[in-house]
Amino acid sequence: MAVRPPLTVCLVDMSWPGYQSLGLGYVRAYAQEDRRLKGRVGFTTLALSSTDDPWWVAYQVLELQPDVVGFAVTCWNARAVYDTCGIIARARCEATIVLGGPEVGPIAEDILRDFDCVDIVVRGEGEETFSDVLDAILRERPIWKVEGVSARRESRVVSADDRAPIAHLDSLPSPYLTGVLTPHQGSAYIESYRGCPHSCGYCYEGKGVARVRSFGMERVAAEVEHLVTVHGLTQFSFIDPVFNLTSGRLEEIIAIVEPYALRGVRLHTIEVDIERIDHASADLLRRAGVVSVETGPQTIGTSALAACKRAFDPERFSAGVQACVSQGIRVECDLIVGLPGDTTEDFLAGLDFALKQDPGTIQFSTLHVLPGTDLWERAREYGLVFNPAPPHEIIATRDMSFGDLRRAEILGTALTRHYRARIASEGGTSA
């Protein structure tokens, strides 16, 4: 008969269907390797989805009778997570509910005030903080003192000091190499660095940390080899905010991936700075087995570009797209409707620009004003009216009314449907 450890932890993955939470994988892998916790904490991960019924999710969690329940929260699953937490807390009030992730970290104290079912919010990177929380629970020490945590001290919501970003990423055990994560639906995501050199106003990719910190190439190589040789993956992706961060780094990664590409392994939907791709780097991407890249421009309106702190050079952008297309790499051009400063005419001009690139895919989305982003902080200044509840869709801007935005959404969606419907779209680019 299995002995129940002193502390049992249930991590609940409520990612969008078809995805899995890399963040929860990191958190668990780190905690499992933490000497303080070895033999004292048992972990279970429930792989569910954001579309699962919260009552059914709560049932599965409660059947495990966990002492601690953890969720990674994004704007996409937040409502489902909050509903689930409310049910769990009322059914098993002794369970400690911990939330982390980009949706809750930047507004941790608000979350604790708004949801009495939530006990702890982890701010920023979760690996060290979550392990320290578990250690504090085991030692019966005050959790509100743990760096990077917001929690209740008696009836007050308090926040401990911020935790410094993890300096040496290689100190984090790999969720794949430790066996915590396995490929999901035939694919997997690798992170080769954290942080982002850009500071786009609508984005939290940099997680508030502009400085780029990298995993060692040996670690990246080991993860790739593990995924391909142990799990037999034939495709995966990098979730790096900018895959072609520097040409030197790009060459290093290509050197790792190219041997697998020669065996048919493919990289899909990696995010690139398209304006920095020339024929040489497009050739590198092809050699790495890249079949599709994702890029902006998000907008081509000068006011919105300035408000979002984005640079845009149409000639370099076009050259980058053509370089990729000429190598057989499908390009996904992303556009956002509802950015501050954009008018209906800017929106139409953006669609027209994207069409003229004939990139292969045009992806069109509505602005979500996300916690922790510059637009969230400066929404009033920019005249952005958005839904305070997740996923925080834009409702109106100074330049586009509610009706303008909804019309733009439908027009954009219709246009992308017409664009996709072409002979060459099945299994290749439109080139």
């Binding site: 209906t344 003229k356 909804r406 019309r407 439908i410 969606t413 419907a421 072409r422 779209s425």
Partner: protein
Amino acid sequence: MIRFAQVDIGSNTAVPCALCATQAETPVFRPSEEISADVDSACRGWRSPPGPNVLFAGAEPFLHPHLPVLISGARSAGAQRIGVRTDGRALAQGDNARGSISAGVRLYEFVFLGGDAVAHDRLTAAPGSFQLALSGLGALRVAAERLGSEIALRGRVPVCVHNVRELPEVCAVLAREQCATIQLDLAPGLDVHSALPWLIAGAETGMVNGSWVAISGIEPSLLGSHALHATDPISLDGEVS
């Protein structure tokens, strides 16, 4: 927006309103060689992406004796998108839906006049045509899914005095049938001011049901806050978008 070169394969069956029309009933088709030459010319001269794109119109394409040859020729000429303007009836029959997708058609523009069988059949003077067109739309969706092909459905509504009050119902039907766009094409001579409330009602009905409604043949400023509806994601050579 996405430009198509409209190539007329014939004349006299553009599905006009039977109550307005003075056209002959029998379609007149152009010789295949002429049509193919037009397609070649359009594709060769294509300069601005995305494209080349070709729409066969002017007469019911599924009545043309050499439609497969014309489609095959358009593919050979390099067309990225091949479209047909149809009354949809033929697509409900035999293997036309699957066969046309397999051949390379990716845009299907359905001409609708009424929002239900009574109105549509009366205006087309073709009993049963509404139900057959809906069956054609359904057959296309099923065939596209089975073939794994991405097709785009589009409604085209020639608007005249006889169907202007039908527009909300027509747009609702076409949106329900998953048309990405619906074009309301105003007949010359239609009193735009009296039609305006119905045009906007049609546009809003499409909107709330997820289809974009484009209104052509009207000064955008007349549409006020709905001026964006003068924008059509599809533009045809020789037409105003």
